[in-house]
Each structure stands twice: as structure tokens, then as C-alpha cells.
Symmetry: C2
Amino acid sequence: MAGNGGHNVGKHDAKWKAKEARQALRVGEGFDLSAVDPASTPGFGGKKEDGERALARDAQHLSDLQEMFFAGSRHGDTRTVLLVLQGMDTSGKGGVVRHVVGAIDPQGVELTAFKAPTKAELSHGFLWRVRGRLPGAGMIGVFDRSHYEDVLIGRVQQLAPADEIEHRYDLINDFERDVAGDDTTIIKVMLHISKEEQRERLRKRLDRPDKYWKFDPGDIDQRMRWDDYLEAYQAALTRTSTEHAPWFVVPADHKWYARLAVQHLLLHALSGMDLAWPPADFDIETQKQRLADS
Amino acid sequence: MAGNGGHNVGKHDAKWKAKEARQALRVGEGFDLSAVDPASTPGFGGKKEDGERALARDAQHLSDLQEMFFAGSRHGDTRTVLLVLQGMDTSGKGGVVRHVVGAIDPQGVELTAFKAPTKAELSHGFLWRVRGRLPGAGMIGVFDRSHYEDVLIGRVQQLAPADEIEHRYDLINDFERDVAGDDTTIIKVMLHISKEEQRERLRKRLDRPDKYWKFDPGDIDQRMRWDDYLEAYQAALTRTSTEHAPWFVVPADHKWYARLAVQHLLLHALSGMDLAWPPADFDIETQKQRLADS
């Protein structure tokens, strides 16, 4: 594998215009969530089968890059990657973990699924529990939900006073600036599904006995606040998409597209790091001799 | 998938006599490590290609069982599985993690790689850091090295007084009895390679620039104490292989066999649990109506 980190994934795949996708998904100036079509597939000209093929093809590449990234960390490279996954219920966060993150060696991944905070967690600031789960050097940290819940459900359900919620955007930006300054590449993803697609996915959970366990009546309570959530997302996305911690809104009505897009964002982050296998920090011939003698 | 948990993996595979393998690998009365051939493949009549095919075939089954196991935990099932991996350097612990554990949804796995203890860890009893990493309900916990290091390298390098090491076997047995009593199925695996096979694997690390990072001159220091390690393993295996926390010595000169064997031990543990998809704890028709209205 070349060590120059040139990002050539999808280079020969006319269907996958990765750079175009990345730019289209990124939340920038004047972003409007309501203008994003959850059924669109920015940058990808193919169909489901093509997308799945591309995903499978690049899985090994992602795993290889991660190994090189990890190897560097054993030799002093302190860099790390943090992937933050947000999205409404059924938007496919679990599927991304399983099918994109799952293709990486488990030894290189630190996954945290954040649930409703415990009493102990609530006794601290909302960033406390997140800070404790930041990934180590050479690792890809994955947050399935995150500190953003505190400005999403926190805002919609008024779990904190309005001025406190307001203040949290600034706290988040400060926090993420620190984390990024600490050699972390932060990638924040909102998986964006339509309300109709969510209905279909919830219906499946109610139709299939092997899916009942995934259903919670509370999901429908949240669903009834759909517009409030979109508004909370719009606020969070625009106020916290920064140079050092950008948001990407990934249309997610097509699961295969969402997975491909997130895989690409990880590939892009690692490819841009100029990774290389670390040189031996011992004398090779000496060690070969020792090995032969042992 | 049937919910009765009948263990039918490999049922139609004449090459893989799983039960026979399990019995052959298990450390029982009168166990003698020096009598185990690291190049053997107990219970498996096929070759590498057959073994790899069997591994790939059962990967999905393991993943499916784990999902059902996890589902149960969301509905009050408190059971958990702990896989302890030990073995000399290059014995293939990392490969088992990557190829066996890596086939399971990352959301169902809690992996801990134990390194040399930190100062903070050393200020506690040797079981302290392990206790903090026991898996939650519905999870498969994996220890890549474990508290056994404290009676392996601890014994060989005399990191603690002899009577303290002696005492640790009892402490381990007490600890594991507690953990098992706490609804944990404990599976302890020693990956057993020959000294010759280790030489080949270390040589590869010295020959290939993409493997240098895996080599540590200290590995050869440990290698020079080979017989002392075997003796420390023999003591640990015989003194701590119990009904509630049995040891399995898996011949590991053939990586494909070691992976297949460990996969089987996990499959066997989950298959024996009488897993079933949990029933809905809500009224399905009511929720369907709510969904339709929302």
C-alpha cells in the first residue's frame, strides 16, 4: 500500500464522485435542512447494487488504512478520529455501525452508544460523559448519539431552560475545538430520513416478531414532534458546523447510500493523513540474529 | 431462526465434529500441556480451505445469535459472555479478534486489550482493572490478555513474591465464581503455538516493513523463557480450569483452526442459552394505530 495517503478510492468508479458527494453533504453557510431530499444520493450515479458493491470493495481499504493508522500510534503518532452519528429513530445509525464500522478490525474501534443519561451522569456537565469516551491515539472513536442529544431532545422536550440550551452550542464549539486541537479529526454525521420512510421502518418493527425488541412506544412520541426535531437539528447543524468539526447531512432513506457516504468520510479522513508504516525502531539484523539464536 | 437454541452448527458438516473438538480442547483432570500438539486440529477432518469455509459459513450464525442475545438483554435477560484470550506472542489472539469477534456486530462486543498495568492500576489489586471491564448484559466481552498475565509473566519474571502468586490462583477462582454466578458464561482460551511456529511468525515481522511495528525486541526476551512460560501456563491451566470457568487449549499453529475452534466455543455458549426473540411488551395493534395516525 502506498504511504502517501493519496485518496484514490473510487478513482476508477465513474459512479461514485466522492469529492462531489463530500461537498454536497457538508453543512456550510446558509444551510437549509428542509431543502435536503432524504431520498437523494449526492455524488453517486448508480443504483443499490452498485452502491453495495462499492461499499464491499472499499471495506478492505478502510480496514487497511486503519491498521496503518493504528501502527503509527504505537510509534508516537497521537492522531485520532471521532465519528459522531446522529439521526432520528430508525435513521440507520446501527446499520452504519454494523456495516461500515464493523468492517474495521475491532481492535481499532472504540464505540460508545449514549443512552438517556444516568443520575450519576446528570450530576456532571453534559460534556462530562462524552469527554470520558474520547478515542485513544490510532483509534476510530464512534459515538452512536452524543452530546448533541443535549441540544436536540434537550431542546424539544425542554429538559433544560432555553438559555441553558442556547449556551450549550458555545460550550460544544469550545469543547470540539479543544478536541480537534488535540489531534482529533472530528466527523459529524446526521443521517437524514423522511417522515414517510420512518413510518415504514417503524411499521416493520411492529410487523416482525424478530423486530419487536427494537420498538419503543416512546419512538412514536418523538415522531409526533418531527417538526420540532427538524428545527432543533437545523439550529444545531448551523451553529456547530465548524472548520475543525464539520457536520455532514447524509440522506438516509436509502440505507446503502448512507453507509457508502459515511464509509467515504472515514476513508477521506484517513487518506488525508499521509499515513505510512512506521520504520523499525530496532536494528533489524541484530534482532534477526537474536531470533535465530533463540 | 428457531428460538429453541438447539446447537445445529456444523450438523451437516462431516468434517467438523464440534462436540468432539470441545471435549478434546477442554482442560480437565490430569491435563498435560506438553502433550498437546500445536499443529493438531482436534475434531476437524478437513484442510485449510475447508476450515475457512466453515468459519465464513458460521460467522453469520454467530452474529444472528448474538443479536438475539442482545435483544433479550433489552427485556431483562441479564446473561453475558466473557471470552478470555491468552497465548504467547504471535499466537494469534489479534487474528481471533479480527476474524471471529470481528464478524459480530460491534454493538454487541466489549473488547479490552490489557497491556502492562499502569501505575494507577498497580495501586489496586490485580483483579481491579479486570473487574471494571466485565461485559454488560447481552454483550460478549473479550479480554485480549487478562488477569492471567499476573500468574504468567508475573510468575516467570517474578513480578510478585512466590507466595503472592500462589495466592492469586485462589483469588482468581473466587473472582470467576462470583462472575459466573452473576450470569456470565466464561470461556477461557489459550492459543497454543509451537516454539518453531513462533520463530516463523517473528521472522515475518522482521522481514516485512508493514510488520515492523508489531515487533518488540522484548518478544525475544520472553521467547527465551519459553519453557518457563509453558510451566506457568501448565500451573494456571490446571489450577483455574473449573466447572464455572473452564479453560480450552486450542492448538494454534494453524490459524484457521484456532479461529474455527474459538468461533465454535462462542456458538456453543450462545446456542445453549435457549435464546428467543422477546415478546412485545406493548400492545401491537394500539401502536400500529398510533403509527398510522402520526
